[in-house]
């Protein structure tokens, strides 16, 4: 029933595009970039993936001498997940997006899809994720592309060393989505120098071109909410009240996918509000990064300097403060001063420039191993940046007509494209 409903719905959505062949052929159903980002891919539009696959969870002790603060007592090391074949096969590393862990839903879907196509896969958390900051970041301060690439490379090496006696690998591949896509390019560059993996191909999925400019796009989403980005609390509570009201006055059996899909169909939230929710999700994510990094470095940014937090201490104030800080607060007040200590000659403008793919464009242009997948309505990119991607990579960039930021990553055509990119000789 649900299936039929969705098909009818998809057909209705496609009607206005009937005349435009290229667009009409693309069946990802959700219009609206923010809506797509929130909803992702409805189940019936995902490919058939294996339910259970051979996996092993790795917990890597990258810095054996590191003392971890008491409140991170549960952190036993960097967690990665490996899916493995029983025969010789290529191995793909996957880097997660901002704040996401190694078992984030996108990671798991990509892993299953590549496993199905005969790859070994190892998934990595984003350098901006709390687990990575605590257990795998040398500086404990994420955001410097060069440092993050070194940390990622070290983590990959450690992971590989821990499994290389158990699996047979023919070649190495690399992919990442969102910020992880951008980082994949920097990791590939480092690999040209260290030559441990000699990645055959690298696929960037919905990458940011300039991390600074993408941060600006995210902040814009929050500036558009009533009262601006300092009123995220009011905004959250308003949206929650509307959501709760809608549920209460209708006869849904439970808060499930069907209900969420109805919320979208009935346009309970306007396009701008959906954008605000996306911005807020980023905020809640980055709050974890800011707090974790601050505790790890004892910098006195949101937690009093020298305070030893216990596991029973309330962290609510830190949660509230961290969710009210923008990515620019983090960059200007915390990240840049930290980087500046190590590289005193580096100006802010130079640092901002170093966080862009443009800083390594000659390499990207010269190497045939790169491919890019992104969307025409990915709001983290400007039109100029999309054009830049086309200039840089030519045929090797695939731009899907919609899907927002990562919304269509789990759509069958997108996953098929990803697998094909790696499989093509």
């Amino acid at each position: 029933m649900k299936y039929v409903q969705m098909i009818i719905f998809a057909c209705l959505l496609l009607l206005p595009f009937a005349g435009r062949a290229e667009v009409a052929q693309y069946g990802y159903p959700i219009q609206g970039s923010y809506e797509a980002t929130i909803l992702g891919t409805p189940d019936t539009f995902k490919p058939d993936l294996p339910v259970s696959i051979r996996t092993r969870e790795l917990t890597l002790d990258i810095f054996p001498d590191r003392k971890k603060p008491e409140i991170f007592f549960y952190d036993k090391g960097l967690r990665c997940t490996m899916a493995y074949q029983t025969h010789k096969a290529p191995l793909a590393f996957l880097i997660a997006g901002t704040g996401a862990g190694n078992q984030a839903p996108h990671q798991m879907t990509m892993m299953k899809s590549l496993y199905q196509a005969g790859f070994h896969v190892i998934t990595l958390s984003s350098p901006t994720s709390p687990n990575f900051i605590v257990s795998a970041s040398q500086s404990r301060v994420p955001g410097d592309m060069e440092d993050d690439a070194k940390d990622l490379y070290r983590a990959m090496e450690t992971a590989w060393n821990s499994v290389k006696n158990d699996i047979e690998v023919s070649d190495f591949y690399l992919s990442g989505y969102s910020l992880g896509g951008t980082q994949a390019a920097f990791v590939a560059l480092l690999d040209e120098e260290l030559k441990i993996f000699n990645f055959r191909k690298v696929l960037m999925i919905n990458p940011a071109i300039s991390v600074y400019s993408s941060a600006e796009r995210i902040e814009e989403l929050l500036r558009a909410i009533p009262g601006g980005s300092t009123k995220v609390g009011y905004f959250f509570n308003d949206m929650l009240a509307r959501f709760s009201e809608f549920y209460s006055y209708n006869s849904f059996v439970a808060i499930n996918d069907e209900f969420i899909y109805t919320v979208y169909k009935e346009k309970l939230f306007s396009h701008e509000e959906a954008g605000g929710l996306v911005g807020l999700a980023f905020r809640i994510n980055s709050a974890g990064m800011i707090f974790t990094s601050d505790v790890m470095t004892n910098s006195g940014y949101v937690v009093p300097k020298n305070r030893k937090l216990k596991t029973t201490d309330s962290l609510f104030e830190y949660f509230t403060v961290s969710t009210h800080l923008s990515l620019f607060n983090y960059l200007n007040e915390y990240l840049y001063p930290n980087v500046h200590k190590k590289k005193p000659g580096l100006t802010k403008a130079e640092f901002v420039a170093s966080m862009s793919l443009k800083s390594i464009e000659s390499y990207l242009k010269s190497s045939p191993k790169f491919g890019v997948m992104t969307n025409a309505d990915d709001f983290l990119l400007t039109q100029d940046e999309r054009n830049y991607l086309r200039e840089l990579f030519g045929e090797r960039v695939k731009i899907f007509p919609r899907g927002g930021h990562l919304g269509n990553l789990e759509y069958k055509e997108n996953l098929a494209h990803m697998v094909e990119f790696f499989k093509k000789p």
Binding site: V232, V302, P304, T312, D313, V321
Partner: protein
């Protein structure tokens, strides 16, 4: 009379406050001493205020839940993590490893079907005729065609489960949630739902004693202990949540908020449909 009482009250409060101050003073001195010791032993410099504090933001709090016992709750949260890690999850994992998926499904169906009695009682208590009928229909269908509840043909026939419990019943008749409470082993709850759980369990135990299904067997207590054990394992098997799995440092607040909000939204819906709001 009222004024006098109030005066007495405030006098008492005054006395109390004096004692309180004295106690606080002693504690303060002690802590000072201890902190002094700590400082000299670890060489930790004094605290300094952070760059950003809560005072600079003029905004509503969000994802907030009444939680005066947070310290205790966080201890329980941690206890549950350890209990899971070292005892329950290893057992659940072995259970999942040795039993075929079909058997696991059957066991879950069986216990879920027993749960229909709780759903039915509370749907009736809240005078929800449609939900009660559906629940009754599910119980009868699954107990007969579903071979004593091993299968769940009712769902395929369009009769979706209508969960209900005594915590929701209390909420339906106007009880507020009370403070948030993390229960050992059972996890996130609140004062209202904990009492609700006690009532549901009491009812169930009563019914069980009445029917006495294993009365004829010699090892009755062993059998029922085995069944309780299996139920605990099955419940954890059905629940995918893992403590601290998200690595998010504010996971406690996310769990608190979502578990609280889910219950409140359900209760509100029930009250609105019954014309109570």
């Amino acid at each position: 009379m009222y004024i006098r009482a109030q005066k007495n009250c405030s006098e008492e409060a005054g006395n109390y406050r004096n004692i309180h101050h004295a106690v606080l003073g002693v504690i303060f001195c002690l802590t000072g001493l201890l902190a002094g010791c700590a400082t000299t032993s670890t060489g930790l410099p004094p605290e300094e205020p952070p760059m950003h504090t809560i005072n600079e933001f003029r905004d509503q709090r969000f994802a907030d839940v009444h939680d005066p016992w947070e310290g205790f709750n966080r201890s329980m949260y941690k206890f549950n993590y350890y209990f899971d890690t070292y005892l329950l999850l290893p057992v659940v994992n072995s259970y999942e490893f040795v039993t075929p998926t079909m058997v696991q499904k059957g066991v879950s169906n069986l216990f879920n079907n027993l749960g229909e009695i709780r759903n039915l009682t509370n749907n009736v208590l809240q005078l929800k005729s449609e939900e009660s009928l559906i629940t009754l229909g599910r119980f009868v269908t699954n107990s007969t065609i579903g071979i004593g509840g091993l299968f769940d043909p009712a769902t395929s026939l369009g009769l979706k489960r209508r969960h209900n419990d005594f915590g929701l019943t209390l909420g339906f008749y106007g009880a507020t949630s009370g403070p948030y409470l993390v229960l050992p082993l059972f996890g996130p709850s609140n004062v209202r739902d904990t009492s609700g759980y006690a009532v549901d369990s009491g009812l169930r135990y009563g019914l069980y004693s009445l029917i006495d299904p294993f009365g004829a067997i010699d090892e009755e207590s062993e059998v029922s202990a085995g069944i309780t054990g299996l139920e605990v394992v099955d419940r954890r098997h059905q629940e995918s949540f893992r403590y601290f799995q998200s690595d998010y440092p504010f996971e406690y607040y996310m769990v608190r908020f979502f578990s609280h909000e889910k219950r409140e939204i359900e209760i509100r819906k029930g009250r609105i449909h019954a014309g109570k709001e």
